[in-house]
Amino acid sequence: MNVTDHTRGIPFGGAALEIEHLSKQFGGTYALNDVSLHVARGEVHGLLGSNGSGKSTLIKVLAGFHTPEPGASIRLYDQSLPLPVSGVKARAMGLAFVHQHLGLIGSLSVTENLFLNKLATEDGWGLNWNALHREASDIFSRFDLAINPRVEVAQLSPVQQALLAIVRAYEELRHASEDHADRPGVLVLDEPTPFLPRAGVEQLFRLVRQCTNLGASVIFVSHDVDEVREITDRATILRDGHLIDTLETAHTSHEGFVEPIIGRHLEDYGGHAKSLNDAQTRVRVTDLAGPGVGPLSFDIAKGEILGLTGLIGSGCDEVPALTYGARAAGAGTIELDGETRPLAQMTPEEALDWGMAYLPADRLGAAGVGSLPVADNTAMPVFDRLRKGLGLTARAIEQHAHGLGARAGVKPNVPTLPLEALSGGNAQKALMAKWLQIEPRVLLLDEPTQGVDVGARQQLWDALDRAAEGGACILVGSTDYDQLAQICHRVLIFARGQIVAELSGAELTQETIAEHCYRSTTELA
């Protein structure tokens, strides 16, 4: 047995989950190639990798969605798990999953969701709801969570929903290990954090540690290197289906993680704030007000990338949509190149016509149509320009999209694929290219790199830089402080719908942004 060094003082009594020689082929290419991975008892084990690295395939094999190639073996607490994995069997042996979509039913109560499995299999007719609610409260109080079991899940905040899903998975494990206390179980958290605010992530991490303190092991799948560094004991990095390395978190730097993920040295992008040589104001937003936001005013210089950030509910994410007319603003004006228009009457049609473009965060709900080809999605703003002779042909659209995709680095660059077939990063590259091709004077972005891998992030940032150098004004609403520190010239911090601080120059670092975000709420409270 390999003896694992541990960092959190948890006694590792050997391996909880042992995966040996796991491979998975899709049409001749290996999505996973001979991966062997051991997760120790009581450990939080990170699983890192960019899109297409094989980490989601690995999770899907564990969850029983994919059948691995012959020759693999998976052992849970020294008991062999028959392959392909059967979901029921795996759960009984102590393997539970929380996927990003959480698997909660919004219209049902917290209690109903918490005991969903039990309710689905219960034979008895009568349900004692009071007893169930009480049981749910007991469980929550054991984890120091303030969740009311009687409310509808849809009314919980995203953080509470994530916490509920994790508690439910943990309870399933506990239930499964009732008869054999030596097998506390392995909890797989598949990217639970990208849509949570920073404070929520901390709450979630607290819950994860409570689970490991009770003996369970946790596999934490994430894009976010900082989160992995914060919560895990060890982390395994996958790239192109190969296991690159398993690292001791405490002895590994940020770069130590990022470099094996992308397989090359990360360009030293930030760390120093960018500055504009000749800052002439091009956009001036005055007295913008909307639901929960403002009135506030700001301006953007020619070629400037302006970041907007704050904690959840601060209103920073509303500003790009309100400026574009995607949501109706109550009041305010916008001045662009000397011309002023009222924001209350702004519509997307008018904004676009005026040289503004908006890329919303909801990639397949608001930014692009998943079921339509990449070609149609990217060529949409220039349909009129592509018309030749008899009309707009599918060929003209596809050729145009192919050129656009090649320049943006979309992989695979097959314009006839439906947009939903692309990974998050590549879909975002395509959708960013959709707007950059019309050379907007103002580009408004909402969480442009959410759920995007490190490599694609870099390409998206480069594209933004080029657009800014061309004179565009870029507004980025984001809660990714690291991203803001690296790409922005200036960052405005929001709290309670107001701008409370402005950072630029030497002040503009990930740490100062975070500090201002948290400080602003406590000051206002």
């Binding site: 574009y324 995607a326 997307p348 049609e349 904004a351 676009l352 016509d353 908006y358 919303p360 909801d362 709900g365 608001a366 930014a367 692009g368 149509v369 998943g370 079921s371 339509l372 149609d376 949409m380 703003p381 349909f383 009129d384 018309r387 008899l390 009309g391 707009l392 042909t393 599918a394 659209i397 694929l417 439906p418 939903e420 077939a421 692309l422």
Partner: protein
Amino acid sequence: MDQNNYEDRVAALEQRIRDLENQTAQHNATPRESWKSWAEKYGLVVAWIVIILVLGTFKPAQMFAWNSYATMFGSNAMVVVLTLALIIPLTTGDFDLSVAGTMGLSSMVIAVLNVKLGLPIPGAIVIALLTGALVGAINAFFIIYFGVFSLIVTLGTGYFISGMILWIADSGTVAGVSMGLVKAVILTRFLGIPVGFYYALILTVAIWYLFQYTALGRRMLFVGRGREVARLSGVNVTRMRTGALIASSTLAAFAGVLYTGMRGVADPSSALAFLLPAFAAAFLGSTAIYPGRFNAPGAFVAVYFLSTGIMGLNFLGVDSFVQNLFYGGGLVIAVAISQLIRGRKSMDG
């Protein structure tokens, strides 16, 4: 020496096998995929030919006679137009269940204006088409302004219209519509087929062009598949949906013109029976030619596929209930197939 010779031959054979394997691998890599998509596109056309051949083995004299098809093409022209009317709002994401009612209303408006009030046919047609446009505007008002689900609104307006028809018709059939209209729809023939068919054909080509070769058509698809995406990309979604609903009702009114011309009479109820055939053809058509999208050539083929089947079964002496079986079953199977196409597409990705 023998030994060497033998090994050489084995090596040469092995090389051949490898070459052959490579060739077949290359051959299989793409063409299989394109074979699949070919089958998807033209499967309905092939099925059409197959049912002609199968039914033809039983009733060759009738099934292989051009005259049967000429008549069938002509007498189903208004179903084609009604199906085209449906696929426009279906593409922008709205149902229009009032099309059959609108067709009946238009038919009755022409008959009443022409026969009872003595208005010349051209004027009566214009008024009928305007009535259709008005129905579309009313549908759009309730669907878009009040945000009521289109299925409910048009279910209601369709039923409302059927009442209106009975009212203006005094609950009876109106016969004696001007022969000018009958001539312009069914009595004039080209290649043996009544000219009504060519009106439907021209409309099919026009809508095929609109959907496939214009920016407007592509934007309509975005409105239907991702309303928010279209809105944020600067498309005036309200105008698009309103336009689609008005176009749908106006085309349905035109189907009513053909229907009246075909029979020279207007009755208050028979048009309503065309709702299901039109829906069946719209969905069946969406599985062919441009699979996964409502499209005009697919709709055209689907209408004649279904009516060929019914014609053949009639020749075999099957009772008229077979129509209902055919159209009803056709609709459900078509939707099931289109679901399969869509589902598989997303899984492939």
